[in-house]
């Protein structure tokens, strides 16, 4: 299910907002630490980073990946920044909802209004 050596994410800048698209369908043990390291590098040393993380291609994530997203959320919040999980697909939203992390994350779903617009 999980594929190594595939491109993991794409990064673009739109004004003050950093747009990051996760380009894998499954975020789990074989790739989530590399993704987390790259995201950490993107927000590292910045004050009030504004990050829009597009999960539109992700269909599945593990509890470890959830933990990494929580860590990123806390790190961004600690610097006064903003993190939005965008285009969250139905199966991923269900995982987030079951764990009540929809109460923690700022989430944008397909077809909904777009927070963190540049």
């Amino acid at each position: 299910m999980l594929h190594r050596n595939a491109p993991l994410l794409q990064v673009a800048q739109a004004g003050e907002v950093t747009l990051v698209t996760i380009t894998v369908a499954e975020l789990g043990e074989t790739n989530v630490h590399a993704v987390a390291a790259e995201l950490s590098r993107l927000v590292g040393g910045r004050t009030r980073p504004r990050l829009r993380l597009d999960l539109g291609q992700v269909r599945y994530l593990t509890s470890t990946a959830l933990g990494q997203l929580v860590a990123l959320h806390k790190r961004v919040r600690a610097t006064g920044g903003e993190l939005v999980l965008a285009n969250v697909t139905d199966p991923v939203y269900e995982i987030i909802r079951l764990t009540c992390l929809h109460e923690v994350f700022d989430i944008s779903r397909p077809g909904s209004a777009t927070p963190l617009a540049s």
């Binding site: 299910m1 074989t30 806390k74």
Partner: protein, 138 residues
């Protein structure tokens, strides 16, 4: 990861071994006509059980292994996952949905297993778990 023995038992040593198990289970479920949601649920729950066994049960010790076996029939999927650790009491795992735990980095695997599978049962020592997913009724 070892190839399955005559009893269908496989042994894993690291999380890198998990995808092949999941692919095998998903393939058998698809061949048996299970809907995609059932396959997703089993893969998610079984993956969490494998990760728990390797990372928490065996505490990442590469000298220890996780034993896994599974059976797919027309009505349900059963899987057994055993690690070589001391075991734990699942009743003592804090609810990750509690407000004070929401922002903890870990502790969600057991919740996900229970949410997606029909039932989840640990052995008395807490180092082995049986997972069951009944076929969804159309």
């Amino acid at each position: 990861m070892t190839a399955p023995d005559s009893q269908g038992v496989r042994w894993l040593q690291s999380t890198a071994d998990a995808p092949r198990i999941l692919q095998a289970v998903a393939g058998e479920m698809a061949a048996a006509g299970y809907i995609e949601d059932d396959v997703f649920a089993v893969c998610l729950g079984l993956n969490e059980a494998l990760l728990n066994g390797i990372q928490h049960g065996n505490r990442g010790d590469p000298a220890k292994r996780v034993r896994v076996s599974y059976h797919v029939n027309a009505e349900r999927v059963l899987a057994e996952v055993d690690d070589e650790g001391p075991g734990f009491n699942p009743a003592t795992v804090p609810d990750p949905r509690a407000p004070e735990n929401l922002e903890r980095l870990g502790g969600r695997g057991l919740l996900l297993m229970r949410a997606y599978l029909t039932w989840v049962r640990y052995n008395a020592q807490g180092n082995g778990v049986t997972l069951c997913k009944c076929r969804s009724v159309p």
